[in-house]
């Protein structure tokens, strides 16, 4: 399984905080996972996940979209951080 977490604007736009998907060859990178999520869900997901400034984290580290995924990984999608 791959755990997926959404935060802030992204979470609000798609109405989902956390979900899991089975790992497979079709979701072997973050970019591929994004494609699958957009494919399975609707327009809101496409808009949210295709934002140019979307940030991806893999196991709680920011990574680029071509980062490879393996069984048990935790992926997160969120907008640029605004703490401090």
């Amino acid at each position: 399984m791959i755990t997926i977490r959404f935060f802030s604007l992204i979470r609000e736009a798609i109405g989902c905080k956390e979900m899991s998907v089975e790992w497979s060859e079709q979701v072997s990178t973050i970019a591929a996972l994004k494609q699958q999520l957009v494919h399975h869900h609707g327009r809101h997901w496409a808009e949210a996940l295709h934002q140019p400034n979307l940030v991806h984290a893999l196991n709680q580290r920011v990574v680029s979209a071509d980062a490879p995924l393996k069984e048990g990984d935790e992926v997160a999608f969120f907008p640029p951080m605004t703490g401090g």
Binding site: S8, F78, P79, P80, T82, G83
Partner: protein
């Protein structure tokens, strides 16, 4: 050596300061405190909501602290950052840095504030006096300041 606290409760700046001073006496100490402003990015603010990514937040803050410690030869550092709903005038963030000399203390403190702004997974939403709410968007100046380091 440093400490990271990520919490929804209010905190005592004085207690945090005293802990640093007693652990690392006879040095230079720079601190920064950020408070909730009544005028935010989108106008009058009634409350500030801070969402965060539990686990990742603590990890990133600890890594930034360790980076600062090596880079500026800090003796000690402490980061406290709140999440949840904060009232106007409440503290959001406190960073305290101890070094042997003032320049290192100032630089360490600024490095931590500049980097946590863009690297620690927090997201601010301003709840306005008219009842509406708006997510704060990332600030280009903050990104530029981040790149200086």
């Amino acid at each position: 050596m440093g400490t990271v606290l990520v919490q929804s409760d209010d905190f005592s700046v004085h207690k945090a300061y005293d802990e640093l001073v007693s652990a690392y006496p006879g040095a230079a100490l720079a601190t920064f405190t950020g408070y909730v402003r009544d005028v935010g990015a989108s106008g009058d603010v009634h409350q500030l909501e801070l969402e965060h990514y539990p686990g990742m937040t603590e990890r990133i803050l600890r890594e930034l602290g360790q980076q600062a410690e090596r880079r500026f030869e800090l003796r000690g550092w402490s980061i406290i950052h709140r999440y949840g709903c904060l009232e106007v005038n409440e503290p959001i963030v406190w960073v305290g840095v101890v070094a042997s000399h003032r320049v290192a203390a100032f630089e360490g403190c600024q490095f931590l504030m500049d980097t946590l702004k863009t690297d620690a997974p927090f997201w601010k939403r301003e709840h306005k006096t008219d009842g509406s709410a708006e997510w704060v968007t990332a600030n280009d100046n903050d990104t530029l300041r981040r790149q200086r380091w």
